[in-house]
């Protein structure tokens, strides 16, 4: 038996099939993964993401600490509540984890890291934080529910305290508010509008049931994966890990090179890799025919070299297979993928594949 979130029994009672995910027993679907996917694209769905680890970072030098720790620069965060997506790197440039950090005030930042990397993340945070007198506090008392879709914010607002709901509906994209019993952020992992709501673990079941009564569809990790892939978002462990840098993972945009004197961990290695120009790159692929991309399939780029699928699936929105592949830098706009002994043609496209319910690439 794995770790269980406060909502585990609720999922089982709702008929969820569960799987192990990073040591947690999590719902993969409640019947049809494709219907759950469409619910998020067209209306509103919710995910139990309580397995993810919320970490509060407090101290007088917390900003200085994060400017050293992260490849992206928290100095960009000037308004309270604003969120930043970043990688946390080893000295050699490999990705320890990707995360979101919220700037709450000058002495408090809140970070959300992946479930499967939680232990090594905390160890690394504490090691680096020690030099800055920053306290690292994992908030195991909190649960988290992601409510996503075009109708998600309205539906979520309808079930929370009216005073908080009014504030929640005014949250700008990629901001969060600390509303006492609830922390509400306009963030997500689906390519749709919505909230991620953190709340005390003992409030999670009641909130989940109220959301369900408001017409928000329970969705499992299966739909979460197809949604994030369509949205062009990386999954740690699939699309990047400690053996790959952000430059090789489609995450160059998350590296803050300026100001040049900010000495973040991994900077030297990334700069050397960039200067060498000999990097692989992560691209989006769209399959022309009837075959489905899966992780670790081999990619052939004629006259250039070989690569590998890092994530692949059938896209319920496009009704075609899509994926990410790590390929040589010189890869152009076509390649072939070896799928079950056959070579299948695929087109290189720029993710996202789908954003806000609409197809975002040429089919």
């Amino acid at each position: 038996m794995g770790l269980r979130t406060p909502l585990f029994d609720t999922h089982v009672a709702a008929g969820a099939r569960t799987v192990d995910f990073g040591g947690w027993d999590m719902p993969v679907n409640y019947g049809s993964q494709i219907e759950e996917h469409h619910a998020v694209r067209r209306d509103a769905g919710m995910f139990d993401v309580s397995h993810m680890c919320v970490v509060d970072l407090r101290g007088d030098r917390v900003r200085e600490f994060l400017r050293r720790l992260l490849a992206n620069d928290v100095a960009k965060l000037t308004q309270p509540g604003k969120a930043l997506y970043s990688c946390m790197l080893r000295d050699h440039g490999g990705v320890i984890d990707d995360l979101i950090v919220y700037y709450m005030d000058d002495h408090w930042y809140r970070m959300v890291v992946n479930a499967g990397t939680r232990d090594k993340d905390l160890e690394w945070l504490r090691e680096v934080a020690a030099g800055y007198g920053v306290a690292v506090e994992p908030r195991t008392d909190l649960a988290m529910i992601a409510v996503q879709g075009p109708d998600a914010r309205q539906k979520a607002a309808s079930v929370i305290d009216p005073a908080i709901a009014r504030r929640a509906l005014e949250i700008e994209p990629f901001f969060g508010i600390d509303a006492g019993s609830l922390f509400i952020a306009r963030t997500g992992y689906t390519g749709e509008d919505g909230f991620e709501i953190m709340l005390h673990a003992d409030q999670a079941v009641a909130m989940w049931q109220k959301l369900r009564e408001a017409g928000v569809a329970p969705c499992g990790l299966g739909a979460r994966d197809t949604l994030r892939l369509e949205a062009g978002m990386n999954l740690y462990g699939n699309d990047m890990d400690e053996t790959t840098s952000p430059l090789e993972s489609g995450l160059g945009w998350t590296i803050a090179w300026e100001p040049q004197d900010r000495d973040f961990i991994g900077r030297g290695a990334l700069a050397a890799q960039k200067a060498s120009g000999d990097t692989r790159k992560l691209v989006g692929l769209l399959v022309e025919g009837r075959a489905v991309l899966r992780s670790h399939q081999k990619v052939m780029v004629p006259a250039v070299g070989e690569g590998e699928i890092t994530s692949g699936t059938f896209s319920p929105t496009l009704q075609r297979s899509i994926g990410f592949a790590r390929v040589p830098a010189k890869t152009g706009d076509r390649c072939e993928v070896e799928i079950r002994g056959r070579l299948v043609a695929a087109r290189v496209v720029r993710p996202p594949f789908v954003r806000n319910g609409k197809v975002a690439i040429a089919l």
Binding site: R17, V28, N29, S32, Q33, I34, G222, T226, R290, A291, V292, R294, T313, F314, P316, R340
Partner: protein
């Protein structure tokens, strides 16, 4: 719990087979298999006229999650495959023992069908697998 109809025969690899009145054998995947695979998105069924061997991967079913071979439980000639699955692979999810059938085979040797697991033995195999 998954549905295991008493009138069918099964393989441990989760195919089902039904002996039809004309002596042909209809093949599909079990309710357990469709649940485990999740939403099906492609089905590659064999062309009628092809000869398949018992234990041979005769069809492929692919779900959002994974691709899986469908093994022919008997040797024989494929006399039909379910054309509806081309446009509606979800028929396998919705009705695995009915509208979701995959292929029909005229067996070379009827004894192969008789040697398959009966419903009781298959249900026992499922129980053993999940414990």
């Amino acid at each position: 719990m998954s549905n295991v109809p008493a009138d069918l025969r099964f393989l441990k690899s989760h195919e089902w087979a039904r002996l039809e009145a004309d002596g042909t054998i209809t093949v599909g995947i079990s309710d357990h298999a469709q649940q485990a695979l999740g939403d099906l998105v492609f089905v590659e069924a064999p062309e009628p006229g092809r000869h398949v061997n018992a234990g041979e991967a005769a069809a492929v079913v692919e779900s959002v999650k994974a691709a899986s071979d469908v093994f022919s439980p008997v040797s024989g000639e494929v006399v039909a495959s379910n054309a509806d699955l081309g446009g509606q692979p979800e028929l396998i999810n919705q009705d695995p023992y009915g509208a979701g059938w995959i292929m029909r085979v005229r067996p070379d040797d009827k004894a192969q069908f008789a040697s398959m697991l009966d419903a009781k033995a298959y249900a026992a195999a499922l129980a053993a697998e999940t414990h």
